[in-house]
């Protein structure tokens, strides 16, 4: 049986989280004794870019090259992926957890009569039955979850497996589908998106600022450090609530949950709701002038000091080792 991986793309490139999902699919296939790992991409994107899914582990990429699918219309994507899933004769669908991926996966669970597990953090244990570990309580716990259906959908969290980069380029095959007009009933009128930046949920390093930065005019320091580190920038909830930074940069319980290898928190005290958004980070660095800030208890490394003093020095020190 084969595994289908739904891959997303933005600005002409396959998203890194989707390539991780391909690597997850490949690792799952290897674990189950082989079988094809087929990636499916919807909408307009260069075939040369799609063939890169091969390096992450796909044996083939199916491209539904229909420009109406370039925008992420949830129902249309769900219908398209369901059709491809049937065509391929897959028994498992893998995708990266994302704004669009979650919405599409839920509809597919009903369409395909498949058990859906979200926030998957590891490969399934198939020694007896089918058991998947997923993150719950916003990263504060895990649930070992059994899936009882024949068809399965796994929405994979960042860093569930290592991104594979040594596969061969995959052949890209264009396929045509007939999607019902009803599935395009939702009309996306405008997309308002920061371009060129590293996307926060996908970033390997994140630098976040809190109220300790004292005002939006001081964000240049955060951005300066982020630039040296190749990092995305985030912020605490109060900072987004008072409008210093846009909501899509808010990291925390009710904002973006991140899972970078390094999270640097500057001038953030570390309320439990903020920690919930960062507790899947591999390493946490906290810079805060208050030695009693609760964030230090969740940190691997810390500096007790004023952000205005420490940040420029740290940025210089990182520049120096390059």
């Amino acid at each position: 049986m084969s595994i289908l991986v739904y891959i997303e793309h933005a600005e002409g490139a396959v998203k890194k989280s989707s390539l991780e999902a391909v690597s997850y699919g490949k690792a799952l296939s290897d674990k189950l004794g082989g079988g094809d790992v087929v990636a499916v991409a919807l909408g307009t994107i260069a075939e040369g870019e799609l063939s890169k899914a091969g390096t992450a582990g796909a044996s083939k990429v199916l491209h539904v090259n229909d420009d109406k699918l370039t925008a992420g219309i949830i129902q249309a994507h769900a219908e398209a992926v369901a059709q491809v899933y049937m065509k391929v004769g897959a028994n498992t669908l893998v995708l990266a957890k994302s704004s669009l991926g979650d919405a599409v996966a839920a509809r597919l669970a009903v369409k395909l009569n498949a058990g859906l597990v979200s926030n998957v953090v590891d490969l399934p244990d198939t020694s007896s039955g089918y058991q998947v570990k997923r993150s719950i309580y916003t990263g504060k716990a895990f649930a070992e979850t059994t899936v009882s259906t024949e068809h399965k959908i796994l929405a994979v969290k960042k860093n569930a497996v290592d991104l594979k980069t040594d596969g061969a380029e995959a052949a890209v095959e264009t396929i045509d589908l007939s999607i019902s007009d009803a599935s395009f009933a939702t009309n996306i009128t405008l997309t308002d998106k920061a371009t060129g930046d590293i996307l926060l949920p996908e970033a390997d390093i994140v630098v976040s600022g809190g109220r300790g930065l004292k005002g939006p005019e001081n964000w240049g320091m955060i951005e300066g450090l982020a630039k040296e580190l190749g990092a995305a920038t985030g912020c605490s909830k109060p900072v987004s609530d008072i409008g210093w930074r846009p909501h899509h940069e808010h990291v925390g319980q009710t904002g973006v949950k991140v899972a970078p290898t390094l999270y640097v928190a500057v001038g953030i005290s570390g309320a439990i709701q903020h920690l919930a958004g960062v507790n899947s980070s591999k390493y946490i660095v906290v810079i805060n002038k208050d030695p009693e800030a609760p964030f230090f208890k969740a940190a691997d490394y810390g500096i007790v000091g004023d952000a205005f003093e420490v940040l420029p020095k740290l940025t210089e020190a990182i520049k120096a080792i390059k």
Binding site: A109, A194, L262
Partner: protein, 245 residues
């Protein structure tokens, strides 16, 4: 115009997460339960729409009797009536089937809920209900306005947002800043006591998944503090020990 808001009954965001019965049950000891924060945003927006459009507003929870105070709070915030499907919410599919069964009878024009529950974080129920009812499902929605039978929304995407339009009926999974949370006033609390709270039995017992064991992440070691005048040491630790630079 009929609006349904589905709410979860979840531990307060400051709760210490622990498990009992050989790690098969959530430990409710000392835990305060609340309306799911995302559901609370959905409810707040629904109350505004009710006032603006003269709509009826029903609130629904799939849960055992212990969730009734949470439903009463939703009534105090402004829902007209409540439905409790009398069952433990076994998995997303189970919950979605209960909501869809009731929605099929009641023909709601708009179904709102949080983008995800804060206990299991699945974020799947709105999409499943959408598919079961053959309606558009949009999530995570951060702005929602109704103009005739057209719903104008903003949906958060990675790095920004997209604006979209669809016709009623539809389902939306909501998040901030769709509306400000509403705190019930004394009049609301008094009137909530006499508003109808109907208990119905589940219609369907299908599930696709089951939790067999809960686990906690390993405890974090002590923080390694570096002097503020020696940031080079931090860079060295990140490079050589953590190997993240």
């Amino acid at each position: 115009m009929k609006i349904l808001v589905c709410i979860t009954h979840v531990p307060d965001t400051t709760s210490k997460i622990q498990f009992t019965d050989n790690n098969t049950k959530f430990d409710k000891n000392g835990v305060q339960f609340i309306i799911g924060p995302y559901d609370d945003y959905a409810l707040a927006r629904a109350v505004e729409l009710k006032e603006q459009l003269g709509a009826s507003l029903t609130v629904l929870n799939v849960g055992e009797a212990e969730t009734e105070p949470t439903l009463r709070k939703a009534l105090a915030i402004g829902a007209d009536d409540a439905i409790r499907v009398n069952a433990f919410p076994k998995d997303s599919l189970f919950v979605a089937n209960q909501i869809a069964a009731i929605a099929k009878e009641q023909n709601y024009d708009l179904i709102l809920m949080g983008r995800e529950s804060i206990d299991f974080n699945g974020g799947m129920v709105h999409g499943m209900v959408g598919e079961l009812l053959n309606m558009p499902s949009i999530s995570p929605v951060m702005k929602l306005d109704i103009d005739g039978d057209t719903v104008k929304m903003a949906r958060e995407i990675e790095g920004g947002k997209e604006y979209l339009e669809a016709k009623l009926p539809l389902i939306a999974g909501c998040q901030e800043p769709i509306a400000e949370w509403k705190i019930p006033n004394m009049r609301g609390i008094m009137s909530a006591r006499t508003k109808p709270l109907n208990v119905v039995e589940p219609k369907d017992d299908n599930t696709a998944t089951a939790v067999v064991e809960f686990k906690l992440p390993p405890a974090k070691g002590a923080v390694k503090l570096v002097d503020k005048d020696n940031v080079e040491e931090l860079v060295r630790l990140l490079k050589n020990d953590a190997k993240v630079l």
